[in-house]
Symmetry: C2
Subunit: 140 residues, 2 copies
């Protein structure tokens, strides 16, 4: 379930560079494979999957699950910084698929609540809030 990269390989670097060029965008594993194929960068499919898993475990990218039978989406976790207190929360609309980034201090209270009441250390980087966005709420 948990894995980490121990070596710094060329493939890992290329994959990471790719994510850095598309911040705020969510891509699937096959998007990544297609991109590399069309740019004639030879990376095996399994290598992509294995590195994606590593990067998720390391908190470098975030994984999104839209539906059981849709492929998972990944996004560069830009907020993995150290300076600003601003933690970025992710909301994903179940209907239109829109990805919303939130900075909200009040939401940080949730983490305290989880620790205090449930002895659970919630990870805001990996947690994705699913629901309906404003547009989809009003549009229907």
């Amino acid at each position: 379930m948990n894995s980490r990269s121990k070596y710094k390989t060329k493939q890992r670097e290329i994959l990471l560079d790719y994510f850095k060029t598309v911040p705020g965008v969510h891509v699937t594993a096959s998007d990544v494979c297609d991109y590399f194929k069309s740019h004639e960068v030879p990376i095996g499919k399994s290598t992509v999957y294995r590195n994606l898993e590593n990067l998720v475990d390391e908190g470098v990218i975030t994984k999104y699950i839209i539906d059981a039978n849709s492929p998972a989406c990944f996004e560069y976790a830009t907020q993995g910084s150290h300076e600003e207190d601003a933690v970025c929360y992710h909301c994903k609309c179940e209907k239109c698929g829109k990805l919303i980034h939130l900075h909200c201090e009040e939401l940080e209270e949730i983490q305290s609540h989880f620790i205090r009441e449930h002895h659970f250390k919630m990870d805001p980087v990996r947690t994705v809030f699913y629901g309906l966005c404003d547009s989809c709420l009003q549009g229907k």
Copy 2:
């Protein structure tokens, strides 16, 4: 995506009866199939899947998608349409993979907050909180 049952078939009744005997329990589609097989009740796999989908659409059972590569879970939706209780929150430990089920009124405040401040209708059924469980926090 949306379907409803028009006929009341024997298979549908058996499936529904099964869910009534395990309220509050999460079962997968193959759990259901295995159960019927071991009890020598002949129901085809596709029939199980199709009826599960119907029952979800009808609001009789609830579908949970915990992780991209885990099978979907289903649970009998015991709560009446007017009762506020029995919404189940899910916490998944990133380290040991344990799935924790929570019933917490205070967490329902999150939903109000999302609506009020962010115009986002959070879906507690679909949202999974990732983090570290008590055991893993204490070094295990």
